[in-house]
Symmetry: C2
Subunit: 228 residues, 2 copies
């Protein structure tokens, strides 16, 4: 498929590399591709700079928000949740059209330090705001409840742990289920929570997730839903 990852951080890098390695055509859209390409500062999470990552993944084409290919079949919102709507605005409603838009971000506000709060929740969510702002887009929320390493290597965590997915368009969910399966998440481990309103629940998992990360000393973990 033709996939454009929006955002050049570790989440975007990880998903871009994974999808490209599976034979997809992958673009990465960022505000200023020239500046991004020169970034030599190591990311504290991956221990790698963007320049180093891109040298290892030359097949991923870096473009500006305005240069997102019209032919992209899937857009992946891998920007920070606080800037997602702004980034999508720069891509524009015309370009976004009725594409599948996989939203993996959380609206975490770190302006007051750690732990962050959610910029909005309870009666709203980033997933819903994206769907409202771009009514034609086929938004699917998924992957926002696991660390970037777990996203593409679920087996580093033992057990049949789960992902949560929601969105209003059944066809878009099928596309996302196919992509998730290729990342190592079999269909039965992806729990469909219904419409995009369920994004509230998965984004509101963040405070517990962060608390567990702190207490356990590692982000490499996940939730398995147990039932009789």
């Amino acid at each position: 498929m033709k996939i454009t990852i929006i955002g050049s951080g570790v989440v975007g890098q990880t998903l871009a590399a994974a999808f490209h390695s599976q034979g997809h055509q992958v673009w990465m859209a960022t505000r200023n591709p020239d500046e991004t390409a020169k970034r030599t500062v190591e990311d504290p999470q991956s221990g790698e700079s963007f320049a180093h990552w891109h040298a290892e993944n030359p097949g991923v084409t870096l473009v500006s928000f305005g240069q997102v290919p019209d032919g992209s079949e899937v857009l992946v919102n891998a920007t920070g949740g606080m800037v997602s709507l702004d980034a999508l605005d720069q891509i524009g409603a015309d370009k976004i059209g009725s594409k599948v838009l996989l939203d993996v971000a959380n609206p975490l506000d770190f302006s007051q330090g750690f732990p962050p709060t959610l910029a909005y929740c309870n009666t709203d969510s980033l997933g819903e705001r994206i769907q409202q702002r771009f009514p034609g887009a086929r938004v699917v929320k998924a992957l926002n409840t696991v660390n970037f390493r777990v996203m593409v290597q679920p087996d580093i965590v033992p057990g049949a742990h789960n992902l949560f997915m929601c969105g209003d368009d059944p066809g878009a969910k099928e596309v996302v289920l196919g992509l998730l399966a290729s990342l190592g998440w079999p269909r039965g481990r992806v729990l469909d929570l219904g419409g995009i309103g369920a994004a509230r629940g998965t984004e509101m998992l963040m405070p517990l997730w962060l608390g567990l990360m702190v207490q356990m000393g590692s982000p490499i973990m996940n939730f398995e839903i147990r039932r009789p």
Copy 2:
């Protein structure tokens, strides 16, 4: 131990019966014990009326909020989260003193129907509000992330699924860990998230929990935290 359960709903009934069956002395505090005792309407969750439940559990002594025994070693807040502070106010700060106060409630607001929202979250929680209102109390938040049946019969759900616990007083947590172990939750399955501020995370799990309940058609489930 001497345990007073605050609240006469299915959660309070379930915990009162379980603790009493283990040899604890158990009181149940409610606004109007005479009215509560006569309640013959079946609870939709348990399929049982209060009157029927109490006839089966005569060893649990029903008292008013004002009659909570001074000698109670543990108070359990099993009221609805929207009325918890009011109920605790009626018991009074003098009576609450420095007792262990196990808070199992969630501030779910059903006034706009289902699904409920949280009355407050993100920068606040019921656990924190209780601790702030009664600074001397040794508040521990736990058990608020499982259905009442799972609380006292964890084995109806397969796997080594988890409870979350938080609170500022280590001694109070030890007391709670002992009670949880007696309900079938071994120490290793109760994850300590730190201070009472972590109540935000566990209360904010509710929207996802409710979404899963709807999609799966049953509240008999739980989260298992998986890690390498």
